[in-house]
């Protein structure tokens, strides 16, 4: 077995350069970590500067500001790091181990070949004036503006009263509170006369936040936790903030010289473009990652492309820096020593049959397919996860998956249905990531499954071809089950979705041909659901007994 496997392997060369997109601290840390492992890095930043200046976290009171400066300075001293500022990623082609990227600088478009890409962009902030019915100007400013003023001329706040409002216009995020705590400290250091913080939804569940909150309060900052936003009346240079205190039963009013409005911490403006250029999935809130239980936190749907820090979630700096280290480890995992052994037959395109319709390219959830003008589509053995979605969608049956070729599977269907005894013959196509282990679990626990059950293993439900389903019926199956992972749990993102569409289509087709569509069923389950597996197959057996044997025997 092993020897046979080895002959089917080939060694390919992998580009070891790494592109890091984003020059904030997450990007800087990623670049340093990757370079430390010996891979050349190109770090690009859309703005003019890298390091703390490109960081979207508070510019004021950043803990360890010195340490971060030093980190950024190390970029220039480290061999093998190329830093390009005012530079954007314009286009990308290729696959893990062999990406070609085009970077547009102020003057030029540069081309680089890299083996892996890490997106480490920052988040965007926007003051939520509307949420408080306020217009900016005069005494009303946003959090970022305060931070800028504090960084430039902290003395201007000496003797001033400053109030903050947060947690009324959006649900709380520890990062919002952290920015406020840092500013409270900076204001107190600058000799502000009074600091008032009005919060709705207060979240301090992050490293050291509780302590920062207490320190500020002990130094005289006053916090009000309210159910509703206070009434705010802005008039020129001053703002009056009032609310009714239910405990002391009276109206409490504060006049401040400056009212600071909280800001949303949203997905960075570049993210949508980067997702389109890199063909990576976007999560529910626009961040660069869809949930997938099978993947490492920094991984994406594409091999060799990683996301770190605020490109995937807004959290504290220490968390982002840990993400950067994680991403660097994953990069090393892909690049290794610059060579890789890959199976020769993972997914192979028969160029003679292919009509170059691009269906495979458009359907592959891992972006593993590209094309060469002279060579039609090419499937990268590094990026391909052998899910078989492309093979099942190809209109010319031109793609074969190693170990799961059409001939092998169709042969299995015919063989398993060659002898049909008295029990209903049920063919269950089982995804090897969920239904197959669930079935094995049912067997291990000696749960009794119907005698006529015939399971056929597939690498992913996405490999279950419409033809296989029809074949099973033609060969005399009384019922067919297509068993996939739960929605949102497919290792290949959309294999279960494709399978469910095909089942619907097949139901339509068999109904048109005169067969009861109930003989075909789509079900989802997880690997540890032996009992559910049993329930599904028993239920199917029951249903088939009610319908009677297929008239196609």
């Amino acid at each position: 077995m092993t020897a046979k496997l080895e002959t089917a392997m080939e060694q390919i060369e992998i580009a070891t350069g790494v592109l890091v997109v984003g020059g904030g601290m997450t990007g800087v840390a990623t670049a340093l970590e990757v370079a430390r492992q010996g891979y050349p890095v190109t770090l690009i930043e859309a703005g003019e500067k890298v390091g703390p200046a490109a960081e979207s976290r508070p510019r004021t009171g950043l803990p360890d500001a010195r340490r971060l400066q030093d980190m950024a300075a190390r970029l220039a001293q480290t061999d093998g790091i190329e830093v390009l500022t005012a530079t954007r990623l314009d286009a990308a082609a290729g696959v893990a181990g062999d990406f070609k990227v085009w970077l547009s600088t102020a003057e030029d478009v540069l081309e680089r070949r890299v083996g892996a890409i890490v997106v480490a962009t920052e988040f965007d902030t926007a003051p939520l004036y509307d949420g408080y019915g306020l217009t900016p100007g005069g005494a009303v400013i946003g959090q970022s503006e305060l931070e800028q003023r504090l960084a430039g001329d902290p003395g201007s706040f000496s003797g001033k009263t400053v109030a903050f409002v947060a947690g009324f216009a959006q649900s709380g995020n520890p990062m919002v509170m952290q920015r406020i705590f840092h500013c409270v400290k900076a204001l107190q250091d600058a000799g502000a006369a009074g600091v008032y913080v009005y919060v709705g939804d207060l979240k301090v569940a992050d490293d050291g936040l509780e302590r920062e909150y207490r320190t500020g309060r002990d130094r005289g900052a006053i916090y009000f936790k309210l159910k509703e936003a206070p009434a705010i009346a802005a008039s020129g240079a001053q703002v009056v903030i009032g609310f009714h205190d239910p405990v002391v039963r009276q109206q409490i009013e504060v006049t401040a010289d400056c009212l600071v409005v909280e800001e949303s911490l949203g997905v960075g403006a570049q993210c949508a473009d980067l997702a389109a250029i890199l063909r990576i999935d976007i999560g529910p809130r626009g961040f660069l990652q869809s949930d997938n239980i099978y993947r490492f936190p920094v991984a994406t749907n594409r091999e060799g492309i990683f996301v770190a820090g605020a490109s995937r979630e807004v959290r504290s700096l220490p968390w982002a820096l840990a993400d950067a280290r994680n991403a660097a480890l994953q990069v090393a995992e892909v690049l290794g020593d610059g060579t890789r052994l890959v199976p020769r037959d993972k997914a192979v395109v028969d160029i003679g049959k292919c009509t170059f319709c691009l269906t495979c390219y458009r359907c592959c959830p891992h972006g593993a397919i590209y094309w060469l003008s002279e060579n039609k589509p090419v499937i990268s053995p590094v990026a391909c996860q052998a899910c078989g979605i492309c093979a099942s969608e190809c209109p010319m049956d031109a793609i074969q998956i190693g170990g799961f070729t059409d001939d092998l599977i169709r042969g299995q269907i015919a063989a398993k249905l060659a002898q049909v005894n008295g029990d209903p013959a049920i063919v269950a196509f089982c995804c090897q990531n969920s239904a197959l282990p669930a079935g094995e679990m049912a067997a291990t626990f000696r749960m009794s499954v119907p005698a006529g059950l015939r399971t056929i293993q597939v690498p992913c439900a996405g490999k279950i071809d419409l033809q296989y389903i029809l074949d099973a019926f033609v060969s005399g199956a009384d019922g067919v089950l297509v068993m996939a992972c739960h929605p949102g749990n497919c290792k290949s993102e959309r294999g279960n979705t494709y399978a469910s569409w095909r089942v619907e289509d097949a139901q339509r087709l068999i109904a048109g041909a005169g067969l009861e569509p109930e003989r075909l069923r789509f079900a989802t389950l997880a690997a540890n659901m032996g009992t559910d597996f049993k329930a599904i197959v028993v239920d199917m057996d029951q249903k088939i007994r009610e319908l009677g044997k297929s008239r196609l025997h």
Partner: protein, 226 residues
């Protein structure tokens, strides 16, 4: 490319009612690309037919083949040895392919398995949009690359008509007005004066089936004809 749609099984079945041995032939070009008649669709259609006929207790023997293009005689020649074993051919190509097939194998009934729908472009997997009516007088040069014959409900060469309605056609708000789009794009490209040029009406009457001989091959055709 040509876009086609698989005919309902019922219709195909009724055409094949009296035939017991049928060869289904896919076309590996346009109809394969639009996922209607390539090798995969041949297999699926055959499975459907097999199920339906068996349930009707009128079993059918089906053969499967797929040629590069049914609109080229040379590729149809590949079927030469096979066809005699069948009493009918089911072609999954567009109307051009079906007719060439019927011409090539004149003694065998040839039936179409798809409805040829339009000349279109591929927006996404399985999603096609009509783009061209093959009118024979392409005006795209003066219409900013938007076909008024296809896109305008009246096929106007000089538009818009009075019904244009905030970017939409008077036939309904799902249908963008072709001439509004033409205007917008000409304006964007700074060549709006072209919309003022009157284009003479096309001669739609008495149209006969067209033959096209590319200029470089006219001599070749004359030679073949002589």
């Amino acid at each position: 490319m040509i876009v086609a749609e698989r005919k309902p099984l019922e219709e195909i079945e009724s055409m094949l009612k009296g035939y017991r041995r049928v060869l289904t032939v896919g076309c590996g070009t346009c109809v394969a690309v639009c996922l209607a008649g390539g090798e995969k669709e041949v297999g699926i259609l055959n499975a459907e037919l097999q199920i339906a006929r068996k349930l009707d207790e009128n079993p059918i023997e089906l053969g499967a083949a797929c040629v590069e293009r049914q609109c080229d005689m040379e590729f149809l020649d590949e079927l030469q040895g096979m066809v005699d074993q069948y009493d009918a051919i089911l072609s999954m190509a567009c109307g051009a392919g079906v007719q060439f097939m019927a011409e090539r194998f004149e003694d065998v009934p040839v039936f179409p398995a798809v409805d040829t729908t339009f000349i279109g472009a591929n927006r996404d997997v399985g999603w096609y949009e009509e783009k061209c009516r093959a009118c024979g007088t392409c005006v795209l040069g003066m219409t900013a690359g938007i076909c008024p014959v296809t896109m305008c409900a009246k096929g106007l060469f000089n538009g818009p008509c009075g019904g244009t309605n905030n970017g939409y056609c008077e036939i309904g708000n799902d249908q963008p007005c072709a001439w509004y789009r033409i205007y917008e794009r000409l304006a964007r490209q700074g060549r709006l004066e072209q919309i003022m040029e009157i284009h003479p009406a096309n001669e739609w009457r008495n149209q006969t089936p067209r033959t096209l001989v590319q200029a470089a091959y006219r001599k070749r055709k004359e030679l073949a004809a002589s």
